[in-house]
């Protein structure tokens, strides 16, 4: 990925120097091993801070609409999923295409930091990425692993690794994956009996602390006031009651129905390691099966639940 970083920096330096964009949103190296952080670069001196690696697991589309200038453009580096969320933002009127300069970054997946941490008993002190080989160091040991083996689940099942919209590409497109069973995780849950399914989701969310990192890391969650923060009417209680936690997760996910690109930012952000994608994945599967829809691929079409079409499936209406 090093050549791609160089290319990103060259493109950004050029864009800023020529005044084509006012800001570049990208990733910078983090302060601890296996961390990266979103950054806004405005001067070409700071361009050197930009990186792209297997820890850039957040979704930069989340940052775009907050920093849009009144005039002119901003540039953003975009993986496949980021670009799909940019498309969603364009469809949903959050940003217009001409406000953006999209630097497409083909992506071979992001690492699952928890999975890597689980390989060590003590804390990781260094993380070096060289192509597919990751070297991970802790006081006790040093280990080399293949990135393929520690990919996040959403990256393993990703079929849109290349950006779907861009002004320039930072590297040659990568090969897209094709999957025999794209929704094996969903099917696995579906195969359980109802009581086991309920138990699964109860267990899943039992550690939720309602910090709302999943919501806030999600580019789809841009309502000025979230339903959980409403007090009149109060849709959901604010405490740690199980019912309220369930309600929060269920409704948050449903608000993403037909809009989720499965970018994994929600899971990446969760401090408690909750795989909230168990909720959204089911919706993604249904959106595909019922409407032939994958979010963020078409700038002309609104998500299926935003529109009505006479041939919509309506067997559920009795």
């Amino acid at each position: 990925m090093d050549t791609c970083i160089e290319k990103i920096r060259t493109i950004c330096a050029d864009l800023l120097a020529k005044g084509k964009v006012q800001k570049v949103i990208g990733f910078a190296e983090g302060s601890i091993p296996m961390a990266s952080r979103p950054i806004a670069v405005t001067s070409k001196e700071d361009v050197a801070k930009l990186v792209f690696n297997a820890t850039c697991g957040l979704n930069l589309a989340n940052y775009v609409s907050d920093v849009l200038p009144k005039e002119g453009k901003i540039a953003v580096t975009a993986k496949g999923c980021d670009s799909r969320n940019l498309v969603t933002h364009m469809v949903e009127n959050q940003v217009s295409r001409d406000q953006l300069y999209i630097i497409g970054v083909p992506c071979t997946g992001m690492v699952d930091k928890r999975k890597i941490a689980a390989l060590f008993e003590d804390e990781i002190t260094d993380f070096i990425e060289d192509g597919d080989t990751l070297t991970i160091v802790s006081p006790q040991k040093k280990e080399k692993v293949s990135k393929k083996d520690v990919l996040r689940h959403n990256c393993r099942v990703c079929t849109h690794r290349n950006p779907v919209v861009f002004d320039v590409m930072a590297a040659e497109p990568v090969e897209e994956q094709s999957l025999d069973q794209p929704f094996a995780d969903v099917d696995h849950i579906a195969a359980m009996d109802p009581a086991a399914r309920w138990a699964h989701f109860q267990e899943l969310t039992k550690n939720c602390i309602r910090c709302y990192a999943c919501r806030n890391a999600c580019p789809l969650c841009y309502c000025p006031t979230c339903f959980v923060d409403e007090s009149s009417p109060q849709w959901v209680g604010k405490g740690q009651d199980k019912t309220d936690i369930n309600t929060f997760h269920f409704l948050r996910a449903f608000h993403c129905a037909g809009r989720c690109t499965d970018c994994g930012a929600c899971v990446e952000a969760c401090p408690m390691g909750i795989n909230v994608r168990d909720f959204t994945r089911k919706l993604n599967k249904d959106a595909l099966e019922l409407f032939g829809w994958e979010a963020g691929l078409d700038m002309e079409k609104r998500p299926p639940l935003d529109v009505y079409s006479p041939d919509d499936p309506n067997d559920f209406i009795k």
């Binding site: 009127n93 841009y222 000025p224 009417p233 935003d306 529109v307």
Partner: protein
């Protein structure tokens, strides 16, 4: 009261049978009526009303088939009329919508004979409809005309009968010609055949006999192959026609207006709602047999015609009602008054109203709880105003009957007491409670409490709502300068409104310029000329020829349209728009059209007649082929005008030279109404009608000396060849399918490209989009008189809006956006069928959504679709709905 839909919905005493009036006995009704509404001393009064115009809408009476001995309607229990069958299908009818034999018996018969018959009652397996009973018949009755509506209603009844009785029900319709020339009717007929499996049998049944044991009905008829068929049906429905009653004929005589022989009012094609006497107008079936939409159009047209004559004196007799100033209650603690209505014994007979009243008084914010015998009576209303003022009430709850009929009344009362009318909540403890739970008074009382508690909870959160005033620009844009457009413009201009006609061609007149004469024989060009002169000389009308419409902004009352005339664009501001873009004749691709100049379309033949083409004198053999391009899969509608037009031209050819052989090749002859007389005349004059099937169309071979037309004769069931020297194709009328125009005004087009009106039956001259109206063949193909009627009707509908120039308000119950919460995602903008939400262009919240109060219908789609919960439906706010749900959940 004949029907539950009667208007006004009040009982009346029949003085001929009332014992009190005839014998001074009984008098029960007076004693039991708690409202003291019975007054036996009332007598007939003669009132004198001075009026500038009179509109006649006396309607029709259904034909009485008793006199037909062959159908034995009077004697056989299972022979019913279509009107009776309509009642059988009705959920409020005698059998509660259950289709059963012996329907004319009482539900619980008392007479011994009836009881015996009632035992034979069964769910019918086979029902037959006999068409043209009392129509198209001069042998058994004197009704030569077609009643226009029976084919369609029979198809409808058959479908509904199957829906009610199950799909195994065998329905057969015996007909002569299937006449479904109305909008969307042909598709309905096709669905009936193919989807519902209704049998259509082309035959007139001679007679019916009854099996005295079972009541089953035996019939005998000749099928299309000439075979005699015997069959048994459980029920027979006589599709009775429409007739003008004796009383109506007498009325016409008194009024000195001319009638046709069949008793319909005589009108001219170019003045289709004007009777022979000045100032008297006519609408509905009295003005020729017609279906609901045509009757509604007639009514609107008659209103406009009557209004045109009185334009000068408009508003000279209106009285203003003084408005009570509104008290500002915003921020005040709710102070609720609850009024529980007994509805005489309607509610109080079941619900313990004193108990409910007592309970209501304990609810939060309730200061007054009153029980009243009839909350809707004038004295109760006056008292309510008094209590509101005296106690300073600021929210009112009425627990009574249905808000559908009574809410406006109570809202008016609130206004009289100085309260905003939206501070009112009504709950229905009659229809939803005492009526449906009449056997469970305890439960009903509890439910009444629940309903009252919910209403109080919602009312406590009610806010006064403002109805935005809509400024109406008093000018009109009419798109299309054909007959319908010009008629609309003339009517609007004569009532004083500046009217602009937009015509893309260089002259007015449209397709009518190609017509020769009307079905009634009027010379179209002469009349059209006069109309164009009237239009061009009217200083209220501006004609924009060579002009196209390039864009439309705005909404009802405030449209701005971009007009492009010879490359130059100008803006036109107008309050309403009438779309009258018409339709045009199809260029046929079959029957060798275009390959020989002896093959014409109807309009080409018209031109020859107009020009008195000498070629017509030499025609030896003329053939007309009907349904060219109509009633086909790609154009599944009937073009409505062609049958009459061809028959008319066929007669003209015969008149020119009675020796000419004239053939009309048809599928069904659809000379509806009194047009049937032309059909009759044509046959009498020797025009030969040969029917063909759509699967087996005539074949045309062009030969040098003649056109060889081959088809299978339906009577002989043999191929026939006609050598003709003139072939006229009755080409379909096709809409312009102007998607751009539809988009400009956000009005829908149907599959074929005709505009879709607001309501197929009740709103035929207007669109669901406020301020936009429709006339002429852009709506559906129609002959001259109907195009003019619709032109007038559209003008009339537009006038009612324009006349409210200073009193047009939006509803208060519309959606509104809480901009703070709006995420600008645009779901509301994309989902609204009325285009009411839009993104704000400027200001602090630019980019977020705003709902245009004028366009919003308050349907709530955007409210439900808003992910951010930013949109609220005023008067039905989320917290109000939730408060009701929570109140319901509260165990009392």
């Amino acid at each position: 009261m004949e029907y539950p839909q009667a208007v006004p919905l009040k009982y009346a005493i029949n003085p001929d049978v009332c014992l009190k009036l005839t014998k001074d006995k009984c008098g029960t009704c007076e004693t039991v009526c708690p409202a003291d509404a019975i007054d036996y001393t009332m007598t007939e009064e003669v009132l004198t009303i001075t009026a500038g115009s009179i509109i006649l809408a006396p309607g029709f009476k259904p034909f009485d088939p008793s006199k037909f001995d062959n159908y034995q309607y009077a004697n056989f229990a299972n022979v019913v009329t279509s009107m009776e069958f309509e009642r059988i299908l009705s959920a409020t009818g005698p059998t509660m919508g259950h289709v059963t034999t012996f329907p004319k018996l009482p539900a619980q018969p008392k007479k011994k004979k009836d009881k015996l018959l009632a035992q034979k009652r069964k769910d019918p397996k086979k029902i037959a409809w006999f068409q043209c009973v009392g129509s198209r018949d001069v042998n058994k009755c004197d009704n030569p005309y077609c009643s226009s509506v029976c084919c369609m209603y029979a198809v409808k009844e058959a479908i509904i009968a199957k829906e009610h009785a199950g799909k195994d029900l065998d329905c057969a319709i015996f007909f002569m010609d299937m006449r479904t020339p109305g909008k969307e009717f042909e598709k309905y007929y096709e669905t009936a055949k193919h989807k519902h499996g209704i049998n259509f049998i082309r035959s007139r049944v001679h007679s019916v006999t009854e099996d005295p044991e079972t009541g089953d009905l035996l019939i005998q008829y000749v099928d299309e192959m000439g075979q005699i068929v015997k069959d048994t049906y459980d029920m027979i429905v006589l599709s009775v026609g429409l007739e003008i009653s004796r009383e109506t004929r007498d009325l016409a005589k008194k009024l000195d207006i001319d009638l046709t022989e069949s008793g319909f009012a005589k009108t001219a094609s170019f003045e289709p709602v004007t009777t022979s006497r000045d100032g008297i107008y006519v609408s509905g079936v009295f003005n020729n047999p017609k279906d609901i939409p045509e009757s509604v159009l007639d009514a609107s047209a008659a209103a406009s015609a009557a209004g045109d004559a009185l334009a000068e004196v408009r508003n000279t007799l209106t009285k203003e009602f003084p408005a009570v100033p509104e008290t500002n209650v915003v921020g005040d603690r709710p102070n609720i008054g609850v009024f529980i209505c007994d509805c005489g014994s309607n509610i109080a007979g079941v619900v313990d109203c004193p108990n409910v009243t007592e309970y209501a008084a304990t609810l939060p914010y309730v200061t007054v709880a009153e029980e009243t015998t009839y909350a809707c009576s004038q004295d109760a209303q006056d008292k309510m105003v008094e209590i509101i003022k005296e106690k300073g009430l600021n929210r009112i709850v009425v627990a009574a009957c249905t808000p559908k009929t009574h809410e406006p009344l109570f809202q008016e009362t609130l206004k009289n007491a100085g309260l905003n009318k939206y501070l009112f909540e009504m709950t229905n403890i009659r229809n939803h409670n005492s009526w449906v739970h009449k056997n469970n008074p305890d439960i009903a009382t509890d439910k009444a409490k629940d309903l009252v508690r919910m209403a109080v909870a919602k009312a406590a959160l009610a806010q006064p709502l403002k109805e935005e005033k809509i400024n109406v620009n008093a000018s009109v844009m009419v798109v299309g300068g054909g007959l319908a457009g010009m008629t609309a413009a003339r009517s609007l201009a004569s009532q004083g409104y500046e009217t602009h006609i937009i015509e893309k061609k260089d002259c007015l007149g449209g397709e009518a310029l190609k017509l020769w004469k009307t079905a009634q024989g009027e010379n179209v060009q002469q009349e059209l000329d006069a109309l164009i002169k009237e239009i061009t000389s009217n200083d209220k009308i501006v004609v924009h020829t060579n002009t196209t419409l390039e864009g439309v902004d705005g909404f009802v009352g405030n449209f701005t349209s971009q007009l492009k005339t010879n490359g130059k664009t100008t803006a036109l501001e107008h309050g309403v728009a009438v779309l009258a873009t018409g339709a045009k004749a199809l260029e046929p691709t079959e029957y060798s059209f275009g390959k020989d100049d002896r093959i014409l379309r109807t309009l080409d033949l018209d031109r020859m007649f107009k020009e008195n083409d000498p070629k017509l004198d030499t025609v030896q053999s003329a053939v007309f082929i009907q349904c060219v391009g109509s009633r086909e899969p790609q154009r599944p509608y009937c073009s409505r005008v062609c049958c009459t037009h061809s028959v008319d031209n066929a007669i003209a050819l015969k008149e020119k030279n009675p020796e000419t052989d004239v053939f009309i090749l048809y599928r069904d002859i659809r000379t509806y109404g009194e047009r049937e007389l032309l059909y009759k005349e044509a046959r009498e004059k020797g025009v030969i009608f040969i029917r063909y099937d759509v699967e087996n169309k005539p074949e045309v071979v062009v030969e040098k000396e003649s056109l060889k037309i081959t088809l299978t004769d339906h009577v002989l069931n043999k191929p026939v060849t006609i050598h003709a020297d003139l072939l006229t194709l009755a080409a379909a009328l096709v809409p312009r399918k102007d998607e751009r125009l539809a988009n400009f005004f956000k009005v829908p087009l149907n599959d074929e490209g005709f505009f879709v009106e607001k309501h197929a039956k009740l709103g035929p001259a207007e669109f669901a989009t406020d301020g936009v109206f429709i006339a002429g063949s852009a709506h559906y193909p129609k002959p001259v008189n109907e195009a003019i009627t619709q032109g007038r009707a559209a003008a009339s509908r537009a006038l009612t809006l324009l006349a409210k120039k200073d009193s047009l308000f939006t509803s208060g119950t519309i959606a509104s956006v809480d901009v703070e919460k709006c995420s600008a995602c645009g779901v509301c903008v994309s989902i609204c069928p009325y285009n009411a939400p839009s993104f704000m262009a400027e200001g602090r919240f630019a980019g977020r959504a705003d709902v245009n109060a004028v366009l919003c219908k308050g349907c709530g789609l955007c409210v439900a679709s808003c992910r951010s919960g930013a949109i609220h439906l005023r008067g039905f706010d989320t917290n109000q709905i939730l408060s009701q749900i929570f109140a319901l959940d509260e165990v009392s």
